[in-house]
């Protein structure tokens, strides 16, 4: 039976993605570790501050896991939310699980406590890179309705491995923010096809920005997470030189703006991907075949 990852809550994802009954939560809602800043502003809080963290098993291996709840403040990172993520990563450094899973769903920094959130996200980045440096893979799963944006979009790219569904989105600034700053001509946030061509899972997969593209199905995410358990990639000068070459080539190859051709389609064509115009209508299996044929570097 297909269970939509996008439609699940954070806790439902944990229940179905991990080995059944294995999730043991740290700082659970019963402990009421909430945001004092939201309370001060008179804004309703959540007893977990929008993120569940703990340990579990995945295919029998011990993993540490965090799941952000997009329904609460869009998954925004505040002081407590961010500190729970940092604590989990620090504990991973101490206890050495097989992997850390980050079920990311976030608009980035929570504006109600923006300064604390910004510093917290940078602390999460550093803690992720500490865990990676210890050889423990950090695996990000992106498939929630709110996508993975802002500082969390950067954090995701600091991890070893990213799994996305085709309905998932990964980027920096949300389309609404760009439209508000530079107008609807720059980015029409209501043009869903344009939004997905720019930030969606298929685009990220075709360009190598994510490592696995799956259907919007919790079991598909589980299978991809299990497959990624050995995915640790040490951050070395060679790795970053290769990354630099890839990003520089992409910047050079980006076609100039044109009235005749959509930017995303033109970029896919430049990357050697056949049938670029048809990609938005393709299913996941067909898109998999395209990337294999084009041999897009990761």
């Amino acid at each position: 039976m297909n269970l939509s990852y996008a439609e699940c809550t954070a806790r439902e994802r944990l229940a179905h993605l991990l080995d059944a009954g294995s999730f043991h939560e740290w700082l659970p809602p019963a402990e009421r570790v909430t945001s004092p800043h939201l309370a001060q502003l008179g804004v309703p809080g959540a007893f977990d501050d929008g993120v569940a963290i703990g340990r579990a098993t995945l295919a029998g291996r011990t993993v540490f896991v965090a799941a952000q709840e997009g329904v609460f403040m869009g998954g925004g990172v505040g002081e407590v939310h961010g500190a729970k993520l940092v604590g989990l990563l620090q504990r991973a450094l101490r206890d050495r699980p097989a992997a850390v899973l980050l079920l990311a769903e976030s608009g980035g920094v929570r504006l109600h406590e923006a300064n604390a959130g910004l510093i917290a996200v940078s602390e999460v980045m550093r803690a992720v890179l500490d865990v990676r440096a210890a050889g423990i893979p950090v695996i990000t799963l992106i498939g929630g309705a709110n996508g993975c944006f802002g500082g969390m979009g950067i954090v995701a790219r600091c991890t070893d491995h990213i799994v996305m569904s085709d309905s998932g989105r990964l980027a920096m600034s949300g389309p609404e923010v760009i439209e508000a700053s530079f107008g609807v001509e720059e980015f029409d946030s209501r043009d869903r096809a344009l939004v997905w061509r720019t930030t969606g899972g298929k685009h990220r997969w075709l360009t190598g920005d994510c490592d696995a593209l799956v259907e919007d199905d919790v079991q598909a995410f589980r299978a991809a997470a299990i497959a990624a358990l050995g995915a640790a990639k040490a951050v070395t000068p060679a790795l970053l030189e290769a990354e630099h070459a890839l990003l520089s080539a992409r910047l050079r190859e980006m076609p100039p703006p044109s009235d005749d051709s959509d930017d995303a389609t033109a970029l896919w064509q430049r990357l050697g991907i056949a049938d670029a115009q048809r990609i938005p209508d393709m299913d996941v299996a067909a898109v998999h075949a395209l990337r294999a044929a084009a041999e897009v570097p990761r």
Binding site: W26, V43, V86, N115, A116, C158, E186, T198, P237
Partner: protein, 233 residues
């Protein structure tokens, strides 16, 4: 402060630093030791191009000058808010810059950030905030969002936010708030050369910003919550 005024005070009139399209770069000598300096000017938005330009110099410094300290000069209005940058994966380019700086730290380079004019959100998070430590000039401005814009987005009354910002540093703009929260280690006041000398002489080490935030009273929970996770049964 203008970048040229700053580097002249720090490194003298023959500093040799140059600016091209908002990107600052130079190899300077400070106290007889070479130093790599990179940064941005004119409140530049950080897009893919500027992230890659900075990362290039960091990677070159790691490859060619092992152990040489790196100074990041920060003046940015934040990340580039353009659809084409998003299409190109601006988050990946930012992460690449942050990871390059992080690799430099781990490879034994001291990396110091200095906010000399303004620093906003996405432009700051993969520069100063991932250095060994980030300092600021007292007149610098650091923020995610100004209070009127925040009032619109959060739908909270501006007057209430303004009043609360007097006592709670977590949301209002201001370099002092970032010091109180531990995000900025110190302000450079008076003799800038002495301040840089002091910054470079501080030991590197683990991320102590959450503890600083607790000690200074601006971010009381972060260190405690992380510790509770470590101690949880």
């Amino acid at each position: 402060m203008k970048w040229n005024t700053l580097v002249t005070q720090l490194f003298g009139p023959y500093h040799g630093m140059r600016e091209a399209d908002d990107f600052l770069q130079g190899e300077v000598v400070f106290d007889g030791r070479p130093l790599t300096v990179i940064g941005t000017a004119n409140h530049a938005p950080i897009g893919v191009r500027l992230a890659l330009a900075q990362a290039r110099v960091v990677l070159d410094t790691i490859a060619q000058h092992p152990g040489r300290p790196i100074l990041l000069l920060i003046d940015t209005q934040g990340q580039q808010l353009r659809r084409r940058d998003e299409l190109l994966g601006i988050n990946r380019a930012m992460a690449h810059l942050g990871m390059s700086i992080d690799l430099a730290r781990r490879s034994g380079h001291r990396v110091i950030g200095l906010v000399y004019d303004q620093a906003l959100s996405g432009g700051f998070i993969t520069s100063g905030l991932i250095a060994d430590a980030c300092d600021a000039l007292p007149e610098a401005e650091i923020r995610v969002m100004r209070i009127p814009a925040m009032a619109r987005v959060t739908k909270l009354p501006e007057a209430m936010l303004t009043e609360l910002s007097e006592s709670n540093p977590v949301f209002a703009p201001g370099v002092g708030n970032y010091v109180a929260m531990g995000g900025v280690r110190a302000l450079w006041e008076g003799d800038l050369q002495a301040a840089l000398r002091a910054a470079l002489s501080q030991p590197a080490g683990e991320d102590r910003r959450a503890r600083d935030g607790a000690l200074r009273g601006g971010r009381k929970l972060a260190a405690d919550v992380a510790q509770r996770v470590l101690d949880a049964a």
